[in-house]
Symmetry: C5
Subunit: 330 residues, 5 copies
């Protein structure tokens, strides 16, 4: 078996059996037994590596192409022999505050599941392990795997949305910070945040329709009695999607508020600057007057002239200072 | 019976009977009698506490999970044995001007209602009390309870929307206040308001579809002749939702108007400042001229030179002042 | 008969008969004759006052509640025994330039029409009078009344929209006024206008769907051959609604244009101020230079020094003035 | 025949016959022959003038009212005896760069077409003339006339849209002009443009649905095999509508860009002004220092003092000038 | 055969045969054989040049008109004898960073394909060549050609979208550049970019519906088993369309962020300018004071007066400089 296969097992009546030696034999065995299925998990297989698997399970040419080249939209495609689902699990990088989306393709047939993973995001080992603890669920076959995988992916959406919510709160604190020096790059940060949200939305929104089909429609290879479960996933997905939509709106509002805030700050600064300028202009003007060279300026000749003028200057400055204070300009 | 059960009663033909001693027996009794039902009200039960109830009434596993963990979207889910409705009653905090949403889950079966409440918001005691006064309505069984609860929740939406409307009017007064000092945090306040509205919208909008299903569709466990009543609730909900949508639009407009207002104010300030600066610049310039040290400056030698210059300075300042006044710069 | 009943008459074959003495008898009579109907018009009835009427005509409890408490959304509700229509006629206050919405409830049964009016707006006397002049139309019974009333309400929408259009043109003149003093409260005026439009939209938009039902659907108590007439009303309503939507967009654009205009004006002012400041700065600088106390400043000793400097100062100022003029700064 | 009738002719087998002397007889004749129809073209008829025609052809009362009072929305209305179509041809005024919409009502019956024109816009003489050159098409009867008229109206939309596109390009040149004086009224121009677009949209968008009905639905009095032709018109209409939508978006973007551009320009101006102010402030400050009256200022006594200070002043100014140049402030 | 025919070949059982000498004979031959078809490729044919082909293949008059005049919307039109598809391939000009759309019309009949190309964009030679390498696919006849052509066009959309994404990243770097001189034309660049995106959207969005019809509907002349292939194309098209929509949103956000950024920069500049002005104002004021001509100014007479004042001036300036530095104004 090629090394690119991360895990591969036969499940019989909800319990894991020994890993099959040969895919072809195992598949025949599973088909015959009726209550068994094969689950092959792969990670970024190359064309040759995937060839063997896709031929064995009779996967559709177009789905195989999609599964090999990443950058697909989430979708659900029904072919004659199998069902093909593309999910985009997201990863939140705590340090960079960025969201990146991987890809997760699931092929569902009558007695097999093939999962292909691209990029980081949502390792399936945990999902598989949890499922193996729960033979009751696993007994439902490939449908159970599809449910468990999409449930895990969508639940992670909600967690990541909560992280972004926390980031938004930091950002809000920055936008409305009283101190201007902190807001130099606020617009850049809001913009970068919006890009993350867009990235996130590209992962979640196109999934809404496929999930609805699984929840309400009649999809081959998926048991009808699993609909309430997919409805639950669809519901969580809608919640995540609304959440993101809300984030996006708030970010637009935050940008608009930041703009208004900058206007307020600029006005405040302008007033403060002007107030100080006024306080410097008055002594300059007075000094200019007493710097005139008229022969007959009586005050200039008095011994008290200079101190009185200095006092007047200071008094006017203080008066202006108080005036500006009470008017909120300083 | 666990203490987390707030109230629990058997209703027979529209009238409350004594509280049942054992849920299981009571349910059997209600089922047999045909015109009786059990109403169990719980408040934030833990998993173990809810276990007993959910098993007794045969509630669906997924609904039980949802009922235990709060933070659900409003929804209506139909299972084989019961109907599950999630409502999000909102609470308006008068002092902080904030809106917070609790959760209210209602399970409806053939002869029982289970209500689970999370967070504050819409205590059901009042609803139950009002219903018990009205045996005519209560006789319709679980459907009547669902109607009464959703009616109470939606009516409260309209009250809260009216509170927000009042807040908006305060905010408008602030945005268009003639005095600038009052508007330092206007952008922050509008933004915070928008967040409240978003929170509110998350409670109301996803409920529109479930209410429509109750009002027009054929939902199991709900009597068809209750449709006009649910249509009334749906109509009020639509009203609340349109109201909130309108608030949101007005807030965006208010933010834009605030921005424009800041521009006007800044321009006004700039003109005022410039006018005063001009009035200081003229005497300074004149004084500078007569401070030049040319030997042959005839005016400097005249005894009337100094007073005349002072008068000219004052006259120019006064003239400028009048000019700026008439032009609306001061 | 209670005084709150504004007008009440029996119409037989399109013609008004004497006012009935007793509602109950009159209704029986109308039902028997087949081609007669009763039209009761009320104005803001209290609960007790309306009680008599609602019981006589068998109106639905929920509709009665709605009819008593104003602040309903426009809607069309079908009950077993009657049809309930809520219209929101609007009134335009010429002086305050405000739009306010009243309420008009119409109950239609097999042989009766009950109209309940709240607030100002669209007194029905004129509609009734016009109908009574036209027995041809009135012969169609309650349907004709519903048509005439909704036609009158919707036609008034278009008139009010035209008034608002005129207001918009005044506002546009203000936004793009060359003189700044006129635009101090433009943002406030645009915002207030948007609120009026929102109020208006709340009256018209929710009516679109009910009118469509009357125009295309099969509504009980409404004759099918009246559909072209209701289609005409629906068409006018759509026109009014599109008009309002257009107004709202233009107001948003006007606010944005006002913001841009403020930016242009601020820039213009800044340039004008700076130009004058430059013209004051040059003489001040020159005067400063000749105010220096160097012993060896040859110019200071010349008799032509002072006049030449004055001329230079004036020349520079004039030159700057011309420069700024040609550059469009002054 | 009243003078308000612009043209009136009988068409038989695709060819124009002599103008009928009496409408009534002509209509009977057309009805009997089966392959003939009457086309009456009117221009702004008064009520009395139209009365004769409408009675002769049995036009519906509501449609007649609409045809007399202009200011209708584009629509398609099916009555028992005829089809009523309202089109809004637009006229572009090259000089004023404005778009104004006229009205064109078309009544289609089994053997007649009545066209009523209001305002300027799309004289039908050309359409009639072109049709008369093409008996092949004209043989299809009233349907061919409706097609030819709507085709002409919609094709003109696309021409007008192209004119507006050219106007937009002029406007863009103005928005991004390097010279500020040209942009004083840019916001006003963009706003006025948006109003034109709104006017245009009011003519085109409500027509989309009627055209779709003609293109895909089963409309009485219209031959089914004309559907591909109406689909073509509908397609052009959609193109015009998308074009206009695109114009509207671009205008919003242009307004936003203009705002940003104003910000950039203001900043540039502020920097330029400040740079010049700095260059004036330094000599003033230096002159102030040497204008101090200290007894012991050694430099003042030197014969080289004055020239050196002048050179220093000039050097500092030049240095500042170069500095500001390299920093892009000048 | 006219020279405007770029390539013309008969395909039999998936393999190219010799070019036919006469279209008419070749078409008859293809029709008889059943598994053969003709593919005629044309480039910007004139009316006369196209006449021959359109008559031979019996193309619909309206489609022929569309095929001759470019500037069509993407669409799918079904006629009795053929299918007509308009695609708009886009070309990205690396140097000018512009997107321009050409046109590609495809006529599909029972045994023929006619492709007509206008403008640059997506030469079909490559597509034809690739198809000829793959007889398996080509055997499916005209459907295969339509699939291959639309696949090529849509795949190129995604490539161009990726180019635009790269351009966006350059633009973002410019918007958030720390150095102001680089952002003089940012608004103009964002606006120009939005125009490109609009152009692109006009090519892609109207194609969504036709592609959906090919992917899910029952379209004549197209084999039903090709649906998964068209679904794949439709899926890629949706991806391209969402991508573009995302670009457009980001550009709007970038413009808003640019505006905010300009505000921040203006404030920064204003503070920097004011700080320097304050540093110049203090020495000027002090110099003014010691330039007064009072007889009794003790300091003026001291030999240490002048140096002390100079030191004080420098100290105050240095102090202010440090103060402004710590406050982030410099």
């Amino acid at each position: 078996m090629p090394r690119v296969i991360v895990d591969c097992a036969m499940y019989r009546d909800g319990r894991r059996s020994a890993a099959p030696e040969d895919l072809s034999d195992a598949l025949d065995e599973a088909r015959e037994s009726g209550d068994a299925f094969l689950w092959v998990g792969m990670y970024e297989p190359s064309e040759e590596e995937f060839d063997h698997v896709s031929q064995e399970f009779g996967l559709h040419k177009l789905a195989v192409e999609d599964a090999l080249t990443a950058h697909q939209r989430p979708k659900l495609e029904v072919y004659d022999d199998s069902l093909f689902v593309v999910l985009k699990p997201v990863v939140y990088d705590e340090e960079a505050d960025t969201v990146s989306a991987g890809e997760l393709m699931v092929f569902i047939g009558d007695s097999f599941v093939v999962t292909v993973r691209h990029g980081e995001g949502a390792a399936l080992a945990a999902v598989r392990h949890r499922l193996e603890q729960d033979p009751e669920v696993l007994r439902h076959g490939p449908t159970a795997v599809l449910y468990a995988v999409s449930d895990a992916v969508v639940d992670h959406y909600i967690e990541v949305a909560a992280e972004l919510q926390a980031d938004l709160e930091e950002l809000e604190a920055e936008v409305f910070a009283p101190n201007a020096t902190e807001t130099k790059n606020t617009a850049a940060r809001i913009y970068a945040f919006k890009r993350q949200v867009l990235e996130f939305r590209r992962a979640t929104n196109p999934l809404l329709q496929p999930m609805d089909r699984l929840a309400f429609g009649n999809v081959p290879f998926v048991h009808g009695h699993a609909q309430p479960f997919f409805r639950d996933v669809a519901d969580h997905l809608t919640k995540a999607s609304e959440y993101i939509e809300g984030l996006d709106r708030l970010l637009s509002d935050a940008l608009a508020a930041h703009l208004a805030q900058m206007g307020v700050r600029q006005n405040d600064d302008m007033r403060k600057i002007s107030a100080w300028a006024a306080m410097a202009a008055v002594p300059t003007m007075v000094a200019g007057i007493y710097g005139m060279n008229f022969d007959h300026m009586w005050e200039l000749r008095q011994s008290w002239g200079y101190p009185v003028v200095l006092v007047v200057m200071a008094a006017v400055c203080l008066g202006l200072h108080r005036l500006f204070k009470t008017r909120g300009w300083l």
